[in-house]
Amino acid sequence: MQMCLTETERVLSTEMENVGVLMTCSMSAYLERELEKRFKLFRLWESNSKAQFLAGFGESIRAVVGDTKVGADAELIDALPRLEVVASYSVGLDKIDLNKCRERGIRVTNTPDVLTDDVADVAIGLALATLRKICNADAFVRSGQWRNGDFELANKFSGKSIGIVGLGRIGTAIAKRAEAFGCSISYHSRTKKQNTNYKYYSNAVDLAANCEVLVVACALTNETRHIVNQEVIDALGPKGILINIGRGPLIDEPKLISALREGRLAGAGLDVFENEPDINESFFGLQNVVLLPHVGTDTVETSKAMADLVVANLELHFLKKPLLTPVV
């Protein structure tokens, strides 16, 4: 990132080399390299004992870089007395103790906008793959079954009614894409959005009862945990399709699995699960579900953009300049 630096900034810039930055887990080789060029990088996952590491180096850490797997919980924050900023390699903040950060005056940044398109693309890709049975058909061909007969009928996507839980940046991007397929859009959000013509439902059950494809695109908070519960699944019904690109705990997973197994829900496309990466093995026996290993933002282009944003936010913080994408 090119910046014209004042003398003060040049000094701060040089001092950055000594700033201790703790990366919580292996999330991006590129990000590691870029952080290493600028800061003193510590890799939490390489130490044999987290407790030992924190006891030895906790005082040196002024920044934490976390992601959707390992963030910054109260325990970690408490062990870092000089922590000034947490930069998350994600847009989701559910792995960061935001209240603790506010208490301590610790800044928090995330990576919104740069990943919106990728996640929306996967949501539509999952809906198409689930309804049109693309993965099943691919397996059908690879196993040689096509020689014995045609594949079964699948279901049309164009014109389906889409219900979106959480009409934020990602939800809006999903809606825009679905509209090009002639789909009608409705949504449920904490509050009704003023700048949209999509039909609003004040609760998830009503939304589910009035759509054919339910897409979960909201943030995971205490309020939204299990927002897709048994009632919502029942309302969506035996012809309904559920797509989740938010967080696993947004759905009551055992209820989802039963519904899929018993045909009370037609299908599901899931990029996220309650227990990643050791997901519930019951999913493996189901043919009416598409399973992705949390790849919503995993493209070459977006991974780099996210990493660049993390680095930029950290640099700006230590240059005492305004942050690009602060949350706290």
Binding site: D118, D121, A129, I134, W146, D150, S158, F181, L291
Partner: protein, 328 residues
């Protein structure tokens, strides 16, 4: 009413409708047609003793799917004035022979276009974001072991090139526009009211795009229109999606380029010699394979049924036909 009078036919008999099909091909709405027409089936079981004579008086032939209609077939059924196809493609008809005999031809027209366009987009997202490959990865139990999955390539913003901007191609374009993709195309002729970039030949189109969607009709001119030059012009990161006909692509060349990594990936619903799929493709992760099922939804079949019923009525009451193929 019925055409030429025949000793087996009275003026009150329902009009003759001659079926033309491979033995294994069926039409689910045949029972309905049997209530309104005297259906002549070459593969009736038990065989219809009146078929050899009556078939010579039939004015209308209903051709199932890709069953070829040759000059010899038309010689065998000399009273045929109208051939109804049930595919969007008409490459299985000897159109010159139809023209010579003054026979009218209709196809499935737009009946399948939404579903095929949806499928083309679904295949593209699958190839670029590795949906089917990732689903296999998860089902194999590899996620906990390998922890990370290979990065995909961003769909939004890609340059999309459409070969054949017809009923299907124009719908594909509209969908990709909502992903922020730029659209370019090649067609026999430039379309007057279209703002997409036109390329007079497919090679130029290929060199200007990241994704090539093949959805044109198969004719003598378009046979192997996607050849080695075109695929090389598309480049190492390029992706090809084919929802047209297998013979539009030089399949042997495509396979070699994929195996050597000289092309980024492919999504294929059609092949040169279905149901045979080239062996080397069966183990590639950057390829999505599909058993010619882009039209296999109840909605497409319902649309086809409506079109066939309406065209039959129209023919027998001298009304204009829909989806008529221009033979001149």
């Amino acid at each position: 009413m019925a055409g030429a009078a025949n000793q087996h036919q009275t003026p009150e008999s329902p009009p003759l409708l001659l079926l033309h099909r491979f033995p294994s091909f069926n039409l689910y709405f045949l029972p309905f047609l049997q209530t309104k027409y005297t259906v002549l089936d070459p593969f009736a079981d038990p065989p219809d003793p009146s078929f050899p004579t009556l078939s010579k008086s039939a004015r209308v032939m209903l051709c199932f799917g890709p069953t070829p209609v040759t000059s010899e077939d038309l010689d065998r059924y000399p009273s045929v004035e109208y051939v109804l196809g049930t595919s969007a493609g008409i490459n299985n008809f000897d159109l010159a022979a139809c023209r010579r005999r003054g026979i009218r031809v209709t196809s499935a027209g737009d009946a399948y276009s939404d579903d095929v366009a949806d499928y083309a987009v679904g295949l593209t997202i699958d190839v670029l974001r590795r949906v089917s490959a990732a689903d296999r990865f998860v089902r194999a139990g590899s996620w906990p072991v390998q922890n990370e999955y290979t990065l995909g390539s961003k769909v939004s913003g890609k340059r999309v090139g459409i070969v054949g901007l017809g009923s299907i191609g124009s719908r594909v374009a509209k969908r990709f526009e909502a992903f922020g993709c730029s659209i370019a195309y090649n067609s026999r002729k430039q379309k007057p009211h279209v703002t997409y970039t036109y390329h007079a030949n497919v090679k130029d189109l290929a060199s200007d795009v990241d994704v090539l969607i093949v959805c044109c009709a198969l004719t003598n001119e378009t046979h192997r229109i996607i050849n080695k030059d075109v695929m090389t012009a598309l480049g190492k990161m390029g992706v090809i999606v084919n929802v047209g006909r297998g013979a539009l692509i030089d399949e042997k060349e495509l396979v070699e380029l994929l195996v050597r990594g000289e092309i980024g990936g492919a999504g294929l619903d059609v092949f040169e010699n279905e149901p045979h799929v080239p062996e080397p493709l069966l183990t590639l992760d950057n390829v999505v394979l599909s058993p010619h099922k882009a039209v296999l939804t109840p909605d497409s079949f319902a649309a086809l049924e409506e079109l066939v019923r309406s065209n039959l009525e129209a023919f027998f009451s001298n009304q204009p036909l829909r989806a008529e193929v221009e033979l001149n």
